[in-house]
């Protein structure tokens, strides 16, 4: 069962958080229009997820389709592979950007990028150690 009460509660939480961010931004409590945009996006995503959740509960065909897509082993494989590719690409782009930053003499940006690469590599090794113990 993909869409359960937990997912519904999370969707409602996104909508409420979005409304709060939007309201605080409109009331000038939050200084940036970025929060208004973020709030709007959270409301849209939350409502979209709530509607999907309700459709999932009502329609048997839709429930079957979603459950098959979520449990399909090829889809799981593709999701894992996509995350792996994303990780490789992000690290590669950051390494190239740090070299460019070094050439341009932007040492602060270079340090941030290298720290970020080090953090990703660190998280990778921790995840690897945990998974190696589990499997």
């Amino acid at each position: 069962m993909y869409y359960n009460n937990k997912r519904l509660a999370l969707s409602i939480f996104w909508v409420v958080l979005g409304i709060v961010l939007l309201a605080l931004s409109v009331a000038d409590v939050l200084d940036s229009s970025m929060y208004a945009g973020m709030g709007g996006a959270l409301i849209v995503v939350g409502i979209f997820q709530i509607l999907r959740n309700l459709r999932y509960r009502k329609s048997t065909d839709y429930r079957e389709k979603i459950d098959t897509e979520a449990g399909d082993e090829r889809n799981r494989f593709l999701r894992m592979k996509s995350w792996a590719w994303t990780g490789y690409i992000v690290v590669l782009v950051q390494c190239i950007a740090s070299v460019v930053a070094m050439v341009l003499g932007k040492s602060e940006i270079q340090q941030v990028l290298l720290c970020s690469v080090a953090l990703i590599v660190g998280v990778y090794w921790i995840a690897y150690m945990i998974l190696a113990r589990k499997y």
Binding site: T68, G71, D72, E73, R74, N75, F77
Partner: protein, 65 residues
């Protein structure tokens, strides 16, 4: 890994959609299996072989690469 899924499925007159539904996977997964683009888990291979009332070796052709 090569397999005989498409051949056996056609012999038995089963559509990809039906096989996918029985296996609890998407039709795209069956299509990818038949084209040899995706290798199934041992669990899915077992389920498919069981569905066709065959052994795994009869459906999936193991070859050393």
């Amino acid at each position: 890994m090569k397999n005989r899924i498409e051949e056996i499925r056609n012999e038995k007159g089963i559509r990809q959609e039906e096989l996918a539904k029985q296996m609890g996977v998407s039709r795209q997964t069956i299509s990818s299996l038949e084209n040899g683009r995706y290798n199934p888990s041992i669990l899915l291979a077992h389920k498919i072989a069981q569905f066709f009332e065959m052994t795994i070796e009869e459906v999936f052709l193991f070859e050393e690469e």
